[in-house]
Symmetry: C2
Amino acid sequence: MDTLAAYKEHLREIGKLESALALLQWDQRTNLPRKGHPARAEVIGKLTKMAFEMSVSDKLGQYLDDLQGQEGLTEEERASVRAVGKSYRRHKAIPPAFYEEYAIAAAHSESAWEEAKEKSNFSSFQPHLARMIDYARKFAEYYGYEDSPYDALIEEYEPGMTSAQLSTIIEPLRGELVPFIKRLLQDGKRPDDTFMQGEFPEEMQRTLSSRALAAMGYDFDAGRLDQTVHPFTTTIGPNDVRVTTRFLPHDILSGLASSMHEGGHALYDQGIRDDLRWSGLDEGASYGIHESQSRMWENLVGRSRPFWKFFAPIAGEVVPQLSSVSTEKLYRAANIAEPSLVRVEADEVTYNLHIMLRFELEEGLITGRIHTADLPELWRDAMQRYLGIVPEDDAHGVLQDVHWSAGLFGYFPSYMLGNLYSAQFFATARKEIPDLDEKIAQGNLKELLSWLRENIHQYGKMYEPKELIERVTGEAPDSSYFVRYIVDKYSDVYSLH
Amino acid sequence: MDTLAAYKEHLREIGKLESALALLQWDQRTNLPRKGHPARAEVIGKLTKMAFEMSVSDKLGQYLDDLQGQEGLTEEERASVRAVGKSYRRHKAIPPAFYEEYAIAAAHSESAWEEAKEKSNFSSFQPHLARMIDYARKFAEYYGYEDSPYDALIEEYEPGMTSAQLSTIIEPLRGELVPFIKRLLQDGKRPDDTFMQGEFPEEMQRTLSSRALAAMGYDFDAGRLDQTVHPFTTTIGPNDVRVTTRFLPHDILSGLASSMHEGGHALYDQGIRDDLRWSGLDEGASYGIHESQSRMWENLVGRSRPFWKFFAPIAGEVVPQLSSVSTEKLYRAANIAEPSLVRVEADEVTYNLHIMLRFELEEGLITGRIHTADLPELWRDAMQRYLGIVPEDDAHGVLQDVHWSAGLFGYFPSYMLGNLYSAQFFATARKEIPDLDEKIAQGNLKELLSWLRENIHQYGKMYEPKELIERVTGEAPDSSYFVRYIVDKYSDVYSLH
């Protein structure tokens, strides 16, 4: 077997282990009986270790060295060597003993966070957080960076992005959004949504979500829809991309949005080209690009007037109390913006402000500008400045997210980038697909999906985010698309003049 | 680490891989989307290979050698070395290349069987069957045997059992059962079950099964109930023992019996002692002993008069049309015996005859006394002799079971042994638990479960079947308990005098 074939075989073997792992984890969050958790943790631990060892093996290192300069590779093969090589070097940079130490500390930290959140007691979590920050800094040192240690961490989620670039994106965005939200609340007319009140049985919500996913083009023969506490999407393997969602008994729109969001992630993974399977390229270009797909389907499609023209009769059929509500009223009720304390419940207007706040704080924590002891106070300050509201306790403030407790610093910005990218991609789709709004209003969502497949999904991880965006839109990443989208839409919905 | 600790650690590592495998297979049969099957097969293939390699590794062989004569082992440790050593030697006896060749041929054979069954065309399957028989004979040669090559195959499912012993069990059993069934049909009064006709929604059937499982003492915090086409029970890992069942829309008793049967298997696995987990002893003593637990709960409990005294009100509550039916009528309707063509649909009176027929034929095939070409005819003959009915096509005759197509010879007898053992165990339980019938009638099934845990479940695979039966009942395996149980019960239900 030549090196290239051996390299591909090695990646397939890793892919198979990761497939088993993905199933073990999916099952853990959907089906696993309560008492089965301790043993499951051990099984996951073992397979993770095996997959990790294969991903940093000397054999793989040798293949990568040999293939680096090899002539005659296809574009896909070169991209694979580049992407796998990058992750190989990052993994190799971390001493195994250090990683294990961190993993144990992170597990303790997550438990401590859970308890601290429950009791809204930041101080019991503080020492764990401080430890996680120390680990993150050491990771950054191991990975290496040019300007800021934070850059080494973002790289994991958004290759090529830096702290400095994020600042230049955020400043003008904040400059537009903060005053716009103020105006919206002062001068705008909040849509009526009283007709949305009610109790919605699980089966009804499941039907509604399934209808939406089917319309989006989600392939149920290559996936499934299940329920969980914290919704997620996972690729178990080729042709097995599973969506999970959450239904709130009194909020029918929340479950629908959650399903469409996760469905957007799933369409991305279902659309990756077959020849990239188990090649190291069979995932999204980045967390931000992935989030652009979920946010596009959730918001730019799922909360649009054309979508509700199509979907209102379906909603009325599935949810009797909505059958006599006008399309326009449904559309407006799906677009209510108001400052809220919790990120995961935020609307699309205020969402990015939650992220800016987190970026500011975590960047400060990693660079040492901010101390953990000051965090609750700084959180409240920023909430006041950005959204004009302040949490009454830390459970709804600094303790609300799991990320930091697990040492995941640099992750949050990808949520914001997803929003920004989604608007830019959608603007291009609008230009390139004739009568897109009209098509969506007719329930023809396939044209948009084809466009996304053609331009984004099929490539998996072949291109880095910036390159992909430029290929697709012909421009550098540009947050003004998002601002224009938000201002136009909400000025209309809230009757601002 | 000393040898004993290293040995235990090795078994734990195999156990973790097998846990991942069990989940991959459970998911394949309950959740996997249609298009995900090819990739799943590859993932299962890889993990199977890894687990197999560990189970025949030289390292394990060395541990076993070292521990064989070692002083100071506990009884459990000695049993583990014995059981693991036995399976090690059996696995080692098979050349890997031969096994791979067989596995591929078996996969083809199973597909051919599926098609042949669909078209009821035995001749298209015959060459595959002939090949599977050849492989089985070669397996027997590799394993080694004293009297009959068939003995080397039964050993896999019922350690210590032989073809000669089976014949001595079967002959008197057949001598009693065949004439009894004739009398039952001629002189007996078939119970009325017209009130059982109807259409029973899935949710209703699921509720009924869940109530029965809960009453049996199945721990839903260490398992779950799902639906599948061919019901099975699987242990994914410690405290994760899952039941699957099948609901027929027009037959409420079938789904209930299936759930109680699988629940019986699950109680066994849930009851194995914690210190035997991942020790090579954390499974049933044999297929026959395992089946004794499923058949006991399905038949000796689930089709008993005391059980229906307890369960009739529950059935009436869950299934409205049964609410006005008397306990006695329900009990009798659950005990209808009639000759039928298909084993998996057979009642407890005729079931063993289906197995005797299969034993006769497969033993003849392996020893060369019977040729595949004559099989359909021999099948019809035996059906006529045993049950007085003859299948119109091979789909309902020789092609009905999957086992032979996969090369599983020697498996069928364990179904019969399960029936026999169950009656013998239950007779002992009746002696040792005061007022057992009364307790069951009050819905107190826990006493029976405690007795089974204490005497059978906790030991897992520590004892071979014969030894276990003697420990529990104080006697050698004895089929007369089963005959007495059947004759007494059905003479009553069918009003034979």
